[in-house]
Subunit: 364 residues, 2 copies
């Protein structure tokens, strides 16, 4: 029986995507690779809804987050880091590691970022140059209202707007140009239905202007090098060729399906997940108005031990759930429903929770 | 007809390695991944001939080179960068990008680094803290005598010794502990017979002491984080799972074969390559005493245009050769013979060159 991998990445891959991973190696400086990277880049740009440059890095999403920061900022730059969870904290930590002068705004786990609080912070400190925001916080299952945040960050203040869309774009609407996001990141193992190993970053014209002045050190993640090489259909350093094959296959599927249908599919399984866990008497961590369509965080009911629940779901039901991260460890479990996930996969989760929970002392 | 991919990485992968790439995704924080990363790490350590810590990064070899530098150095540190070609220059450029105070020693393309010149440089400048050396220079087909260089760098001066072994270790003897190398890098797509996407870096106790003081900024490539996570059988950031599968399969083959046999195999095909091209009247770029057992650089004979030769070998003979890099572009072509390469693959190259060269005006 196949495992029902319900973590927010790596996500399951369709059979044809896995098969594509096993194609023989080619010259990464030859014509076949050139055709492939140009096709993938064009499709990703279209799915990012952007005319901006877009680059594919051999790295995880965190690598793309580092690239997003080090290419447009200098040590000492004042940066507003808006965090609603672990990944927001990580974005802030990267900026700090490279010498940015970071102002943190943190919101309670399970709540979204409030645009008005961001407005006040920007009003209070005109020296802020850039704003870091997580679109979809994987650790809490919250999707920030980036459209509203953009109206403040870009519309009112014209700041450099750097967005971690690792677990949203490709699954949840995240139109890069419409929302005027200057730097946007994602990773292949999320809604893109490919294995991990490739990360994406888009750069607006404003971002390139910042890049020309930016003094944070960079080499592997230098997007100026990526731009030079992409002009000849290459990457500066040897790319993860088999993951390119997989991504090429998955983008063919996504392109055939159409982005609107992809978004609807995610909305449907997400709703089914939320309704399902609530029907069992469980509580969501997220303020439901902002609940994510890619991952659902569920409070572990009193009396139940999270590790035991996760272990029982794995061993007795073949379902792999994600635990809580950081301060939420032991307090929540998470159900990933991004990418290749059907309503039947979610029904399986709900049915199995219904069996497992009472054995662990839950009287919902 | 299968392509004869004769570039120095990505290298061809055995069928079982390619097949392993297409296994379904798993939780990178679960027990199966833990078993796999611990098994792979142990095997790599054994093949690196080291008791040092070893980490697997989702990146190319260049990423591992960056990790090797930023984890043990601080901005302003005086560093001796020994270069015999493009990859030596790259190592120097990475150190410079992160603020090291770099002293360059460059040797003529096709010649190895002279230990005596390194000794003089270290004598002349006691403030030098670390020495960067390329073990096998892929751009010129030269293998440096790292054992002799180590006697100077470690034996006489006790400097931090950082070695790019990306295209050597796993194919050519490169015993990490015996040669007292503090930081050593490699990449999955070289002699390891796996697809690109993973890079390796080993850290000695001396390297960890340097790491504790090192102030170059790092996040994605932070080896302290890698160490913390490896203790629980994980990576800090989502790893390229399908490349892990492939590497697991290729290390099984290599372990079965035994390292001595792997080294002999590389020596045999390398000798066959050198003898073969010389029998056609072609000249090697490398001083043959230091010619690499993983890649052979051949001078393009007068009157023959390199791009036409490379294109004809590809289109008419299904053989993919590598061109020259940097200043050697147009002056040499390169034959990769590392990893999964048989004598028949090399015979095919020689036989095809014999047909192609006269058509392009060569009268050898």
């Amino acid at each position: 029986m196949a495992v029902n991998l319900r973590i927010p990445g790596p996500t399951p891959c369709p059979e044809e995507v896995l098969e594509a991973s096993s194609k023989p190696m080619i010259n990464h400086r030859g014509p076949e690779f050139r055709e492939m990277i140009l096709r993938i880049t064009d499709r990703l740009k279209s799915l990012f809804a952007t005319k901006n440059d877009l680059f594919i890095l051999t790295a995880s999403g965190t690598g793309a987050m580092e690239a997003a920061i080090v290419n447009v900022l200098s040590p000492g730059d004042r940066v507003l880091a808006v965090s609603i969870g672990e990944f927001g904290d990580r974005f802030s930590a990267i900026a700090r590691a490279y010498g940015a002068d970071v102002v943190d705004i943190k919101f309670e786990p399970g709540t979204p970022a409030d645009p008005d609080t961001i407005r006040k912070a920007l009003n209070a400190d005109p020296s802020i140059k850039a704003v870091l925001v997580t679109h979809n916080e994987t650790s809490t299952g919250i999707t920030n209202d980036v459209a509203a945040i953009s109206k403040v960050v870009k519309g009112e203040f014209g700041k450099l707007f750097i967005v971690d869309a690792v677990s949203s774009i490709g699954s949840i609407p995240c139109p890069v140009d419409e929302w005027e996001m200057d730097v946007v990141t994602s990773g292949s193992q999320k809604g893109w239905m490919a294995p991990p190993g490739l990360a994406f970053v888009s750069m607006s014209e404003t971002a390139w202007k910042a890049q020309a002045e930016a003094k944070m050190p960079r080499f592997y993640f230098d997007l100026a090098a990526a731009k030079r090489y992409l002009q000849r259909g290459q990457t500066p350093w040897t790319p993860a060729v088999s993951v390119f094959y997989a991504l090429d296959a998955s983008l063919e599927i996504i392109t055939q399906e159409g982005m609107e249908s992809v978004f609807t599919r995610h909305a449907v399984v997400a709703k089914k997940t939320r309704e399902g866990v609530k029907s069992l008497g469980l509580k969501l961590l997220a303020d439901e108005r902002y609940a994510s369509n890619t991952v659902t965080a569920v409070r572990v009911p009193e009396g139940v031990e999270a590790p035991k629940l996760i272990s029982m779901m794995d061993k007795e039901h073949n379902i792999v759930l994600a635990s809580g991260q950081g301060k939420l460890d032991g307090k929540i479990f998470r159900v990933g429903h991004l990418g290749y996930c059907t309503e039947a996969d979610i029904q399986d989760v709900i049915d199995s929770l219904k069996v497992a929970l009472p054995k662990l002392g839950f009287r919902g």
